[in-house]
């Protein structure tokens, strides 16, 4: 009994501290909850509206609790809705974007890895200067190169073509992928390369057998970065390409601004979601690795 009393008096301080801790936790989680809500509400609104009846939207406003449920907007947005004169929905532009993003991501990542490998493990006179020059590309706004690109693509006959956009995105993305890979490879011990050289391996064999197997973390970061960046890119898509050659981002804007006077919020919402789906999926499945890859610098 005496022990219990003693314990209580001792616990008093701890109880106060515990209570303070509890309320600070409540505050932190409360704030976090509010912020995530603010952040996610637009997504909810778009998702809801893609399933609502158009008259119901007009009646109750864009932001309202849904009172109807229809799937019509989705097939319409995908297949039949008229954008800029062509009544084929989003699918053509979706595939344009896919046709542009996948090769551009693969090529720019592959080149970035090789660049990074050379700039970190096979340095030569002037390689640091070269790297610094490439870094400039990271800080250069895309608008600067817009006109030169238009000129160049016209010259080589790739204007208004998905292939032209692939080329643009490969080159524009190269500074990022090179930076990522170079900074990652710098942490691979040089002794590994030396040991491999004595073992009789050359430039490519060392890359395939030693460097590449160590690369998954940075590979995931680079691929996610490039894929979402290229998919979401709008400026080049809308300026360099027109009509049926535009990527989905440009088509979305065309859909929301052009054509009839009626605002088809349900179809627009569905179209936006179709356009947002691939990057969202990439984040869902790769986001965990993305964070890990960015934070994990050294290779043990």
């Amino acid at each position: 009994m005496a022990d219990a009393v003693l314990e209580q008096t001792v616990d008093h301080e701890a109880a106060v501290a515990g209570r303070r801790r509890f309320w600070s936790r409540v505050l932190i989680y409360g704030l976090l909850a509010i912020f995530s809500l603010v952040y996610i509400v637009p997504l909810f609104v778009v998702v809801f509206n893609s399933f609502r009846d158009l008259p119901e939207i007009s009646r109750n406003g864009l932001i309202a609790i849904p009172q109807s449920f229809r799937l019509d907007a989705w097939p319409q947005a995908w297949d039949t809705y008229c954008i800029g004169g062509a009544c084929e929905g989003m699918k053509r532009y979706f595939f344009n974007s896919l046709m542009m993003t996948i090769p551009a991501t693969i090529i720019s990542t592959a080149l970035g890895m090789i660049n990074g490998y050379i700039l970190s493990k096979w340095r030569f006179r002037g390689s640091e200067v070269l790297f610094t020059c490439m870094l400039l590309g990271v800080f250069m706004p895309g608008q600067i190169s817009l006109l030169p690109w238009a000129f160049l693509l016209g010259k080589i006959g790739l204007n208004n073509s998905v292939y032209g956009l692939i080329l643009v995105h490969v080159i524009q993305g190269l500074s990022f992928t090179t930076l990522f890979c170079r900074n990652y490879y710098v942490n691979i011990p040089d002794d590994l390369i030396k040991a491999a050289r004595i073992d009789g391996a050359g430039f490519w064999r060392i890359f395939w057998k030693i460097v590449l197997p160590l690369s998954p973390p940075i590979l995931i970061v680079t691929v996610i970065w490039q894929f979402t960046g290229i998919w979401n890119e709008y400026l080049f898509g809308v300026v360099l390409n027109s009509g049926a050659q535009q990527p989905i981002t440009a088509a979305l804007v065309a859909l929301s601004t052009g054509g009839t006077n009626v605002r088809v919020f349900d179809v627009m919402s569905a179209a936006v979601l179709i356009g947002a789906l691939p990057p969202l999926l990439v984040y869902f499945f790769g986001g965990k690795y993305f964070v890990r890859g960015l934070t994990q610098g050294a290779i043990k």
């Binding site: 073992d199 391996a201 197997p213």
Partner: protein, 368 residues
């Protein structure tokens, strides 16, 4: 035939001269240790032998081939790195296979080599593990195994034991010695640890500031160091250096130097008789183990000189006891058997074994 010959080898990094004309030669089957403090150029020298650093001037011959501009893979060498440099994504077996695959060694021969080396190093049980699953000592073994699966003309070791804890280091040292005895390959071994160099090498090259100070057998390097640097670097505790003056006792050469209490010591010299002008300043070098407690038995032996000195610090290590004594301005370390160890504060009668004493020229720092 010599496996490695280095002639007047120089290396500059920009304006910095890292190696200043190295001459070195390893006979077939020899174990050469390159030893020196950090920054002496020993690792650079090894990297140049391996072909990982370019040659500024001079010649490197491996076997009967000038290899100055030969790629590392074509130099017929194998190397063990300080960091082990095991390929982290490969198993132990794949690590050992990598070099053979690169060189297109036939499959049956590869398997045979792995079986042989795994048995030799007792790493059969580890063959399917990744380097991350191995302890430090095991990694060390695998790194050696990767070098041993080839049959090169030359083995290069770059401080292979410095990442291990003290006990393991001693074990692996013995292991390497056994291994070299069994394999009999010419080995160049870089270390900053003079004990490793003494225990392993058939000849030691002591390096300092980009130059080879002495290149000789361990006993010679230890007993007849070429200069004050080598004398101080080899041996622990280090050799005692005492500023002294040449003189004569009864017409025989001797050295004299001041002691603590205003007295001077005069010790007769016993090693060789060069023409030594009386009055010349010299540096007397005495190793700690050549000091002992004076007793009547020793008095009859030749080459013993005596003096007394106050004891300032006593450090027992178990097997032996170190004591710091004062010779005038100097502190001198002695190494005693525990039974005859001094007490702190004692004015100790010392016997100095002058047959092992070294004399150095204070100007040139060289052995006289």
């Amino acid at each position: 035939m010599s496996s490695l010959t280095i002639r007047n080898l120089r290396k500059n990094f920009g304006a910095v001269e890292v190696l200043k004309g190295i001459d070195l030669e390893a006979r077939a089957g020899e174990f050469i240790a390159l030893v020196g403090p950090s920054g002496c150029g020993k690792s650079t020298l090894l990297a140049m032998i391996a072909g990982l650093e370019s040659v500024t001037s001079g010649e490197i011959w491996i076997g009967d081939r000038l290899v100055n501009s030969v790629a590392p893979k074509d130099r017929d060498i194998a190397m063990v790195f300080q960091s082990y440099a095991l390929y982290p994504t490969m198993t132990v077996r794949e690590n050992m296979l990598f070099g053979m695959e690169s060189r297109g060694v036939p499959k049956p021969q590869q398997q045979e080599a792995i079986a042989r080396v795994a048995a030799l190093l007792q790493i059969e049980a580890l063959l399917n593990r990744k380097p991350g699953q191995l302890s430090g000592g095991q990694r060390q073994r695998v790194a050696m195994g990767r070098a041993l699966v080839r049959d090169p003309l030359l083995f290069l070791f770059d401080e292979p034991l410095s990442n291990l804890d003290a006990k393991l280091r001693v074990d692996m040292r013995t292991e390497i010695k056994k291994l070299h005895h069994r394999v009999g390959k010419t080995t160049i071994y870089v270390t900053h640890d003079q004990v490793e160099a003494m225990t392993l090498a058939s000849r030691i090259a002591v390096m300092h500031q980009g130059e080879v100070q002495q290149f000789d057998e361990p006993e010679v390097v230890y007993n007849r160091p070429a200069n004050i640097f080598v004398a101080g670097f080899m041996g622990s505790p280090a050799m005692n250096f005492i500023a002294a003056e040449l003189t004569t006792i009864d017409g025989k050469p001797a050295v004299t130097f001041p002691l603590a209490n205003g007295r001077t010591a005069a010790l007769a010299l016993h090693n060789g008789a060069a023409d030594r002008a009386s009055g010349k300043q010299v540096v007397l070098g005495i190793r700690p183990e050549h000091l002992s407690r004076h007793n009547p038995e020793l008095a009859g032996k030749g080459g013993i000189a005596t003096l007394t000195a106050p004891v300032e610090v006593v450090e027992p290590t178990g097997a032996e006891t170190m004591a710091v004594m004062r010779f005038g301005e100097l502190e001198v370390v002695g190494r005693f058997a525990p039974a005859e160890a001094p007490r702190m504060g004692e004015d100790m009668p010392l016997a100095v074994d002058m047959t092992h004493a070294c004399l150095f020229d204070p100007a040139t720092q060289r052995l006289i």
